[in-house]
């Protein structure tokens, strides 16, 4: 049962990734794309967690944590760039 | 899987090469970034592909992927980061000094300016 649930979740987040990709490619403005990128990182964390459940390993936790941090920082950086030009002022 | 990875390497390389053939520094830097992704994947792939066998010793786990290419890639990532940082800074400096971000050397590099004659 858990296997099917996993496959379902894999499928959902994989598809979600594609939706994000679509929004990165076809978007009216930059902020949409940044949003899509942020969402992509979050979906990736989900996929990584699923992978960890699937393989029964906690080896990928550090990566997930880093993805979360990096997603946050880079989104803020992109947005700050749009807003101010200078991200460290 | 091998086909996917090698096609990705090829595409990243092609993109990188195309971008470094552009005439502005920023595009060239982007191209360098692409190339460095490509080379990192390439170097990594020389250890051959294995799924879920990280080279971290654990009880009861026998299969490990080749750790050496990974260590090499790590070194390569760090070095190319340093290089990229310098080239970005230098491109910025050239832009501020020269007023444009062209990559090509201006004619004044090879020919004396007429104003000085």
């Amino acid at each position: 049962m858990i296997a099917y649930a996993l496959y379902f979740a894999y499928g959902c987040f994989g598809l979600a990734l594609l939706f994000c990709l679509y929004r990165v490619v076809f978007a009216p403005g930059l902020s949409d794309r940044v949003l899509a990128l942020d969402t992509m990182a979050i979906n990736m964390i989900a996929l990584l967690t699923l992978f960890g459940i699937d393989k029964g390993t906690g080896m990928y936790f550090e990566a997930s944590l880093l993805f979360a941090m990096v997603g946050f920082i880079s989104t803020v950086a992109y947005a700050k760039f749009v807003l101010r030009g200078d991200i460290i002022e | 899987m091998e086909l996917l990875l090698s096609s990705a390497i090829g595409t990243l390389t092609a993109a990188g090469v195309y971008l470094i053939l552009r005439l502005r520094t920023f595009a060239v830097v982007l191209g360098m970034t692409m190339l460095s992704y490509a080379i990192n994947l390439f170097l990594f792939s020389t250890g051959r592909l294995v799924v879920n066998a990280p080279p971290i010793l654990q009880k009861g786990v026998e299969v490990h992927t080749d750790p050496l290419p990974q260590a090499l890639v790590l070194t390569a990532i760090v070095i190319s980061f340093g290089m990229t940082a310098v080239v970005v800074m230098m491109a910025l400096g050239a832009f501020i000094e020269g007023g444009d971000d062209r990559v090509d050397m201006p004619r004044a590099d090879r020919m004396p300016g007429d104003d000085q004659a």
Partner: protein, 946 residues
């Protein structure tokens, strides 16, 4: 005296003027003269031995493995030339002392002159053809300096360059020729080569060697068609012309032909090349000389003509001709040097060398007149002067020579040459000394002081004496040198009167014809004007200018500063060479099965491919391109995780975010969009190159992944011993900090240097003009109102400490789990950056000053010290150890010395990243940003407290 010492003496002499010049001009001259005299004396001491048929040698090893050795020899030929070089050199030194003016730097002149003398002497005393080459080229160089001695004259510059180029060309050809010759003979020693006549002439390389060597000889001796440089070398001061261009250097070519005569001559090739060239040169140059207005130019072409004469004689290949050649070398040196000095005196005293402005000097300068006339008559070949003697011998030999079966051709041409020679000689005498006195000389002419005329007078005395008593005066020298040239004992019978021979008839013809020709001079001048277009200098200039221009255009077009050309060349070279190498080797086909493709990785692959393609398509929109870089980086690091490389993923993703921040900082100033400035055609070509490279690289990766290792990789040892010997479970980390810690040491150094470079560049930028430009920077985009939004500041107050804890965790766990000093450093750096983003760099720096320089230095030193620490245990650099430590209250934990190393990595990474980002943001602050006093723009609580 050792031949080597004799050869070295002039070089020692060359140093003296420089050392003694403060003592005055005379001291310089006397010191040089002394050196020359001593050398001459040393040479003369060997005369008895040489007359006895001995060869005096001195041998020093220099570069034995090449065959280049300092081997010297004095035989008859060397003696002859040595006496000429040193004897005339002595006279020139004396003459130049009085000739040069007060403004001329005399010390430099004498230094150059002595350098030249040494080089020339070296040529004639060398017993090794490679050594000879060295001196040969040295004469070219020193003559370059001498010709260009008067730096203010453009003619000097051009003449020097021309001489160097032409003789240099010959010298280079000779290098090849000599190497071939030496390799055939099996030795580069002249003594050995002279024994190898059969082998050399039988060798298939004989003709190439001959041609190459002759090219050297002909250019040096100004043989047609390389005769043009010599007259232009006359821009040199007259002593130089007299020395180099009449008596010595131009005779180096003749010397070489004479030196190698025993092994090279006697073949049809030799005859047709050498004799014909000599003949043509003799006639042509004499013809030209008739019409020259400049005295020195006339003498120069006459010299060319006489050199042609001697060349021709050598080319005949008979022993008698060789004797005649040697004799004429002596005679020509005496009268021509005298003539040059005469010309110099005239120039010196009248202020002009133009024949058209001279005339009637007979009474004004009687001494000069006598000297010049006697020498010129000798040049014309009028008895009883020495020029007559050797010319008779020449004509005699010419009558014996058959050219392509025609017995008269050579004789007729030789007579013609002699006729021209008479003509220009008489013209020299007639138009300079005779005729009415003029009133328009630039200076009032009178005879110079004794110092200036004694040298030519001495030579003229020799001219007469040799003419009258040839056997007594020069017979011994001719005998010795001719024997050396021919390799067999010669006993030439030199007399003034040979009886009525065909040669005498030809001689008389020449004399009469020459005089007649002079009478017709005016009409000839008109004729000559009609063919003035054939000016070799113009051709040379045109050729060099065209070559320079072509080289300029070629270089400029090829190396035009285009980066994309450089990259395209790089890419194509790599792909084509790689493909060639691969396809010419064997590949046994795929040996590894493929991993199955799962749907989710496929999605990742799609995302990566789409993002990459979009990146290319949208790269002009720079911020968008950066967002796409973010996606690509994310996908790449996820693939690392999927393919069992968590450490790589951590590093890749954290490096990527720092890179993006860096690029954003730079992009703040750079244009936000890339303009299109390449044409469709270029883009098409670029796409082609890119695709080709991509295909090649992808294919290579595919082949690798489908092939097995040919040998078991060394990493198996690492997997097996990582824990046992390195004390860590994370094999990648153990490799990084232990197995290959030295790599990592280099790697953090790279990072540190990168940051230092960025810092240094920033400082330079801020200090200079760009600093001012930055202060007046106008931002190209509208900016939002708040810089330090409250929410970000508040959240960062939590995120920063948490991130530091995470960094610490990653650092400590790295040895056994994914992580390590590098990633930890990046995490901490990113956390600090987030603090700076939230509250601004200035505020944050003010609150807590972190010395990033110190962090970098400390990091590298910490890593280095960990490595050096091993020395104290007698172990190599970077040897590690580990153990388990139990502290009260804490759990037992592992402490590896490699962790000290990792700490160095950590510090260096933090320092480098922060220094780089700090530098970049300083540029932004220079560009007019004000500094905040508060961590956040809006703080309602502050207002409430008020």
């Amino acid at each position: 005296m050792s031949p080597a010492l004799i050869a070295v003496l002039p070089f020692i002499g060359a140093l003296l003027p420089g050392l003694l010049i403060r003592s005055g001009r005379d001291v310089a001259a006397i010191s040089c003269a002394t050196a020359t005299f001593v050398a001459l004396l040393g040479l003369c001491l060997h005369i008895p031995a040489i007359m006895a048929g001995e060869v005096v040698t001195a041998r020093f090893a220099w570069l034995p493995s090449l065959g280049l050795n300092a081997h010297f020899r004095i035989d008859g030929l060397g003696l002859l030339f040595g006496i000429l070089i040193l004897g005339i050199g002595l006279l020139i030194i004396a003459y130049a002392r009085h000739y040069l003016s007060r403004e001329d730097p005399v010390g430099v002149f004498y230094t150059y002159l002595m350098l030249f003398q040494g080089a020339m002497l070296g040529i004639v005393l060398s017993d090794n053809i490679l050594l000879l080459l060295v001196f040969w080229e040295l004469t070219s160089l020193s003559s370059f300096l001498l010709i260009g001695y008067w730096k203010h004259l453009p003619e000097g510059r051009q003449g020097a360059r021309m001489a160097l180029t032409v003789t240099g060309m010959g010298g280079l050809a000779m290098i090849a020729g000599m190497l071939i010759l030496g390799n055939i003979a099996g030795s580069f020693d002249i003594g050995d080569i002279l024994q190898a006549r059969e082998a050399i002439q039988a060798s298939p390389y004989y003709l190439p060697a001959l041609l190459l060597i002759l090219l050297g000889a002909f250019t040096k001796s100004a043989q047609f068609p390389f005769h043009f440089w010599l007259p232009h070398a006359m821009a040199a001061p007259t002593p130089v012309s007299a020395y180099l261009h009449s008596a010595t250097m131009v005779k180096a070519g003749l010397f070489l032909m004479a030196r190698l005569w025993p092994v090279l001559s006697g073949t049809p090739e030799w005859f047709y090349i050498v004799a014909t060239t000599g003949l043509v040169t003799m006639v042509l140059a004499a013809w030209i000389a008739i019409f020259r207005d400049d005295l020195k130019s006339l003498l120069a072409f006459s010299t060319v003509s006489h050199l042609g004469l001697i060349t021709m004689l050598l080319g005949f290949g008979t022993e008698a001709a060789a004797v005649a050649a040697v004799f004429h070398i002596i005679n020509h040196a005496t009268f021509k040097a005298a003539l040059f000095m005469t010309a110099g005196i005239i120039d010196h005293e009248t202020g002009t060398r133009s024949i058209a402005r001279l005339g009637g000097l007979r009474r004004l300068m009687p001494v000069t007149f006598v000297i010049g006339t006697v020498a010129a008559l000798s040049m014309a070949g009028i008895p009883p002067l020495n020029g007559f003697l050797s010319k008779e011998l020449m004509l005699e030999e010419a009558t014996h020579a058959a050219w392509q079966g025609s017995p008269v051709l050579v004789a007729a041409m030789a007579t013609l040459g002699a006729l021209f020679s008479v003509c220009y000689s008489l013209r020299f005498v007639w138009q300079v000394f005779f005729g009415p006195e003029r009133q328009d000389y630039p200076h009032r002419p009178h005879d110079p002081g004794f110092g200036l005329w004694c040298a030519p007078a001495l030579l003229v005395v020799l001219v007469v004496l040799i003419g009258l008593f040839p056997a007594g005066m020069a017979g011994w020298l001719v005998e010795a040198s001719a024997s050396a040239v021919t390799g067999t004992a010669q006993h030439p019978h030199l007399t003034l009167w040979h009886g009525v021979t065909p040669a005498l008839m030809l001689s008389i013809t020449a004399l009469v014809g020459g005089a007649l020709l002079l009478a017709l001079n005016r009409r000839l001048l008109a004729m000559r004007a009609a063919m003035a277009w054939l000016d070799a200098k113009a051709i040379f200039d045109a050729v060099t200018r065209a070559a320079t221009c072509a080289a300029g255009v070629f270089t400029d077009r090829l190396t035009n500063g285009s980066m994309s050309r450089a990259f395209a060349a790089f890419s194509l070279t790599v792909v084509l060479c790689g493909f060639w190498a691969f396809s010419t080797g064997g590949w046994q086909g795929a040996t590894r099965p493929m991993l199955p493709v799962q749907p989710v990785p496929l999605v990742g692959w799609v995302a990566l491919m789409v993002a990459t393609c979009c990146m290319v398509a949208f790269h002009r929109h720079r911020i968008l391109a950066l967002v796409l870089v973010g996606i690509i980086g994310l996908m790449v690091s996820v693939s690392f995780i999927y393919l069992s490389a968590p450490d790589l993923a951590l590093t890749q993703i954290s490096v990527e975010v720092v890179t993006v921040i860096l690029l954003l900082l730079a992009l703040n100033f750079l244009p936000k969009f890339t303009v299109i400035d390449s044409r469709d055609r270029k883009r098409g070509m670029d796409a082609f190159v890119a695709t080709l490279t991509g295909l090649g690289f992808g294919a290579l990766a595919y082949v690798i992944m489908r092939s097995d290792f040919a040998f078991s990789p060394i990493s198996e040892y690492m997997l097996a011993n990582s824990y046992r010997l390195g004390g860590g479970d994370n094999v990648v980390n153990v490799i990084l900090v232990d197995f290959r810690g030295y790599d990592t040491f280099g790697e953090i150094t790279v990072l540190g240097i990168a940051a230092l470079t960025i810092f240094a560049l920033t400082e330079t930028l801020l200090a200079g003009a760009s600093g001012r430009r930055l202060r007046n920077w106008v931002h190209d985009s509208r900016r939002a109102g708040d810089r330090h939004p409250l929410m970000l500041v508040v959240v960062t107050r939590l995120v920063l400490p948490i991130a530091l804890v995470v960094g610490l965790y990653i650092f400590l766990r790295g040895h056994n789990m994914p992580g390590g000093g590098f990633v930890a450093g990046l995490v901490v750096a990113v956390a600090l950056v987030s603090q700076y983003m939230a509250s601004g760099f200035a505020w944050a720096q003010e609150r807590q000053k972190i010395n990033y320089h110190a962090l970098i230095g400390a990091g590298v030193i910490a890593a280095g010290l960990t490595g050096i620490g091993a020395w104290f245990a007698g172990l190599p650099f970077l040897s590690s150890t580990y153990g388990y430590v139990k502290l009260p209250g804490l759990e037992e934990f592992e402490l590896a010395s490699a962790m000290g190393f990792d700490l160095g990595v950590f510090l260096c990474v933090v320092g480098a990243v922060m220094l780089a980002l700090n530098s970049l943001s300083r540029i932004a602050r220079q560009a007019g940003a004000t500094v905040n006093l508060d961590p956040m723009d809006i703080d309602p609580s502050k207002e409430a407290r008020r």
